[in-house]
Structure formats: structure tokens, C-alpha cells
């Protein structure tokens, strides 16, 4: 009896708290992703462009790819960039794909589409990303926003959201045509931090890996300020030329 009790306690201790156990084992969760959320990402967020300004707020010069580890295979595409041709071909959303969209200046509207799917809309380019916490097979054709699998990484007093995206259409890392291929993968970590006056900051660390057009990971970390409401939400269509 005593031994059984000790074993029970030991197993309970190793297993950890129930929500975390469900996460660690990556199996069917007993509660929904929404219920397990260690941080609240919902609401409206606005880009605060204090980094990479020259590559984000204006279109850089054709042929410039500073700080991007572009492979030799990417160079002909970089130098052949033709925004008008993209527009004519209906590819004006190439710089709004999942590997780049978080760096495009604009606003995010984050909501729960259902208990296990986080929905991230952008007003720049009017894009929608869906972060699926429940496993699902990739069945639809590749898209600009690809297919995203999400996992909470809880910690005492908070935590982080990890999102892995693949199954994307080939796109651009920057407006001036620095490419990523349809074999690229994006791993993102969403973290929040406090700002003065009860403000909040969303930090997205994005790691883009592409065996075709990158020689190494391309890492950026755009950030967003929380907004009280959607009064400044201003959807605009994709544009190749601006």
C-alpha cells in the first residue's frame, strides 16, 4: 500500500500539471488550445517599424538583398524582378506570403476562429493566416499563407506560441523580389512583453529556411504595439509596385 502510494506520487510528479502534460506529449489535448493559452494574443496590433526601416517602409532598390543569405540560385531572380509583370500575372501578393507578411507594415487582427484555430488577419494585403493547434493533413494546394501548425510553449506566468508554416506558394522576402521557394519553412515564436502605461508589445521572431534560395536561416523579429480597438484597421489589397 505504502509503495503504491509512493509510486503514484512519483508518477504524478514526473507527469507535471495536466495542461502541460497534454502539450508535452503532443497527443490529444484534454482541453482546447484556447483554454490552454498561456498568453492572450487576441486583439488589434500595429507594426512599430524601428528596424529594417529601409527594407520595409519603402521598396528597396532592385537587386539589393543586403542581410539576406541569398543562394546563387536566387540571384538571377533578384536581378530579374519585374513588379509590373507580377501584377499582370496576378502575383501581386508575392511579398505578402507567410515568410514576409509579419514584416509588412500594417495591423494584425488576431481572433480565435474556433477553439483550436487562431486566426491572424492583416490589413496590409488583406491576408488571413490560420494557426492550427489540432493536427491536420495538408490537402489544399499551396497558398501564400501556407499551412501552419501551432503549439503553446507554457512557462510559469506566461509562455510563448510556436508556429511552423510550410506548404506555401513561392514568394518574396522583401518587396524588391528577393525570393523564397515553395520548399521554404517558417518557424515563428510569438512572445509578449509589457510597455509603459499598460501597453503591450508583441514580438515575432521568424526563422525562414529555404533549401533553394537561402544558404542559411533568415531571422527577423518584427514587433507590434497593442491597440485598444480596430478603429485604425484599414484593409488594402496586395500591390507589387508599392
Amino acid at each position: 500500500m505504502r509503495n503504491a502510494f509512493v509510486v503514484f506520487v512519483f508518477v504524478l510528479a514526473l507527469a507535471g500539471p495536466a495542461p502541460l502534460r497534454a502539450q508535452r506529449q503532443n497527443g490529444p489535448a484534454t482541453t482546447s488550445a484556447r483554454d490552454r493559452a498561456p498568453i492572450d494574443l487576441t486583439g488589434y496590433w500595429v507594426s512599430y517599424v524601428t528596424e529594417n526601416w529601409r527594407y520595409r517602409m519603402v521598396t528597396p532598390a532592385k537587386g539589393e538583398y543586403r542581410r539576406i543569405p541569398a543562394s546563387p540560385a536566387a540571384l538571377p531572380l533578384i536581378n530579374a524582378w519585374d513588379p509590373a509583370a507580377d501584377e499582370r500575372a496576378g502575383n501581386q501578393c508575392r511579398s505578402y506570403g507567410a515568410a514576409a507578411i509579419m514584416s509588412v507594415p500594417g495591423r494584425l487582427h488576431i481572433t480565435w476562429q474556433d477553439a483550436d484555430t487562431l486566426r491572424v488577419e492583416t490589413d496590409a494585403g488583406t491576408q488571413t493566416r490560420l494557426f492550427h493547434f489540432a493536427p491536420r493533413a495538408a490537402s489544399s494546394p499551396p497558398s501564400w499563407q501556407g499551412q501552419s501548425t501551432a503549439t503553446w510553449e507554457p512557462a510559469a506566468g506566461g509562455g510563448s506560441l510556436r508556429v511552423v508554416t510550410s506548404h506555401m506558394r513561392a514568394g518574396y522576402l522583401r518587396k524588391n523580389g528577393v525570393p523564397y521557394s515553395d520548399r521554404a519553412t517558417v518557424t515563428e515564436h510569438f512572445d509578449v512583453a509589457p510597455l509603459a502605461d499598460n501597453g503591450r508589445l508583441l514580438l515575432v521572431t521568424a526563422i525562414v529556411e529555404d533549401p533553394v534560395y537561402l544558404t542559411g536561416p533568415y531571422v527577423v523579429s518584427p514587433h507590434f504595439k497593442k491597440e485598444p480597438d480596430g478603429s485604425k484597421w484599414d484593409p488594402t489589397p496586395c500591390s507589387s509596385t508599392w
Binding site: 528597396p60 537587386g63 541569398a70 514580438l203 526563422i207
Partner: protein
């Protein structure tokens, strides 16, 4: 007797479960070497007037435009080094060590090792009080840290009046810098939020990522002064703010809006991109130093 036995075992159970739960507190291993990844443009120091991405007060802009980089040639200023913010603005990696209490084995502090032109930063983790506001202000400042939500959160105060950019953008000794260190696998992302009631309208925010290095990094090097064309007692090199010869250089190189280069607050938000849509003319195609290794802008 039975009640006491059950109570003791219940206590043991609670302790075990608590121990397991604490593993989820994710106090990650911060100590080690972290190499800069360098795929983001956070240095902004390649041309003398580059205040992109900052929200400056008029006073800050005026002081920045009066700055002449030759000040660092003065023998008495050569080894001044740069302030705490240079941890994420500079090109170097981080070498982090931890100091523990030999009795409790708890971490007393983390130290981020010095570079040639940046002083060691100590992050005190032992709940010590912050010193008086009249205490010594230094380049590194005084920093207290704590674990919060899986990240290391720290706040630096007591900084010496200095700069938030190497291009001479000033920061007062009233500035506060909040740090968040997030670790995701081998990637460490450092978030800096600097506030200054005098020179910044809104916080200066920079995030920079590092990758764990198996090779120990060590950037320590003694600063040795030398003659760089300035005699002791010479006047301090400077410009009249409205006559800075470099004020338009960045504007002309990349066709950038002048108000953005000079750090006007509105330029940090998406609305500004819409405002300049019809006036912006892209620069000519890049022909030199266009690639990844070109960390610095090309000055013609």
C-alpha cells in the same frame, strides 16, 4: 496517527508536484556564448546622419545633428565606449556567465562580457535594491533581472548620459532600458525598450537574435589610446545643427524621406507608408555591394 501519516504523504505529494511544475517555469540556461545572426539592420551607423526608426524630440534631433564623429578621435574620448544599448546595436555576440551563491547555489547575477568599446553588463538576480538616484551613473548602468513568463526580464537604470546610436543620437542619464531575453532552442532574441523623458517621444525598440555558439566567444580587448589628429585641448568637433554636411546623404543615396532619416515619430507607423506612396521614387538598381555580406550601406 493515521491522519498525520496521510497528511505527511500529502505534503510529500504536493512538494513533488510543485517540483515538477517548476520545470515548466522555463528558467532557461542563459550562460554561454551567443553569436550574432545579423540578418536584421539594427546598427544604423553606416552614415553620419541615420535616425531611421527612432521617435526623437526636437532637442534630440538638434543635438544629434550637431554631433561630429571626429569627437571619438579626441584622446580623452577614444576609450569612452558606448552605453548599455550598444549590446543590441553593436556587431558583437554575447558571452554570458553566471555567478552563484556557494551556499544556496542560487544565481546571484549574470554578466554579459565586455567588448573593446562596451562595458560588461551585470544583471543582478538576487533581489537587491536599486541604488539611490544619486548613485554613480555608468556606461553599463545598474541592472536588476527576474524570470518572468519564460523570459529573463531586466531593467537598466543609472546610465551615464550618452548615445542611443553611434550616429550621435543622445540619451540622457534619466533613461531607462527594459530588456527581455527570450530563448527558443538555439536562438536567443534580445528585446530592448529604451525610454527617455528628454530625447525620445516614444520608446526606442530593437530586437536582435543570436544563435548559441559552441565556440566560446571572447571580444575583450584593452582600449589603447593613440594620436588620431587631435591635440589635447583642441576644441570639440561639432557642426552647427543646420549646417551638418551629412544631413542629406542618406536621403540622396536611397531616396528616403528626410523626416524618416531625421527620426520623426510618425514615420514609425503604417500610415506613413501610405502617406508617401505617391511621392516616393525608388532608387536606381543596386550595382555594388548588393548582397548579404554588405552589412554597411554604400557611400559614394
Amino acid at each position: 496517527m493515521l491522519i498525520h501519516l496521510v497528511a505527511r504523504r500529502a505534503l510529500v505529494a504536493v512538494l513533488f508536484v510543485g517540483l515538477a511544475a517548476s520545470r515548466a517555469s522555463a528558467q532557461f540556461d542563459f550562460a554561454g556564448s551567443w553569436a550574432p545572426i545579423g540578418t536584421e539592420d539594427v546598427q544604423n551607423d553606416s552614415v553620419p546622419v541615420d535616425y531611421l526608426g527612432l521617435a526623437l524630440t526636437d532637442e534630440a534631433r538638434t543635438r544629434a545633428l550637431s554631433y561630429d564623429e571626429s569627437q571619438k578621435s579626441m584622446i580623452e574620448r577614444q576609450c569612452e565606449g558606448w552605453g548599455a544599448a550598444y549590446m543590441v546595436l553593436g556587431p558583437f555576440g554575447l558571452r554570458v556567465t553566471s555567478q552563484t551563491d556557494p551556499v544556496t547555489n542560487r544565481v546571484v547575477s549574470f554578466a554579459i562580457g565586455a567588448w573593446e568599446d562596451w562595458n560588461e553588463m551585470v544583471i543582478w538576480m538576487d533581489d537587491r535594491p536599486r541604488p539611490s538616484e544619486h548613485a554613480l551613473h555608468t556606461q553599463a548602468g545598474f541592472t536588476i533581472g527576474r524570470w518572468e513568463g519564460g523570459a529573463l526580464a531586466a531593467r537598466t537604470t543609472h546610465v551615464k548620459a550618452g548615445f542611443i546610436r553611434k550616429t550621435g543620437v543622445p540619451l540622457t542619464d534619466h533613461a531607462t532600458i527594459d530588456w527581455r531575453f527570450f530563448r527558443h532552442g538555439d536562438i536567443l532574441t534580445v528585446l530592448m525598450v529604451a525610454t527617455d523623458p528628454v530625447y525620445l517621444v516614444e520608446p526606442a525598440i530593437v530586437s536582435k537574435s543570436f544563435r548559441m555558439s559552441r565556440t566560446p566567444l571572447d571580444y575583450r580587448a584593452g582600449c589603447v589610446t593613440g594620436y588620431e589628429g587631435r591635440e589635447p585641448g583642441d576644441s570639440v568637433p561639432h557642426y552647427a545643427p543646420d549646417q551638418n554636411p551629412f544631413a542629406d546623404e542618406f536621403v540622396k543615396l536611397y531616396h528616403l524621406p528626410k523626416e524618416a532619416v531625421l527620426g520623426y515619430p510618425e514615420t514609425l507607423y503604417p500610415e506613413y507608408r501610405k502617406k508617401i506612396k505617391n511621392s516616393y521614387v525608388p532608387p536606381p538598381p543596386c550595382t555594388e555591394s548588393c548582397g548579404a555580406a554588405g552589412n554597411f550601406v554604400l557611400r559614394r
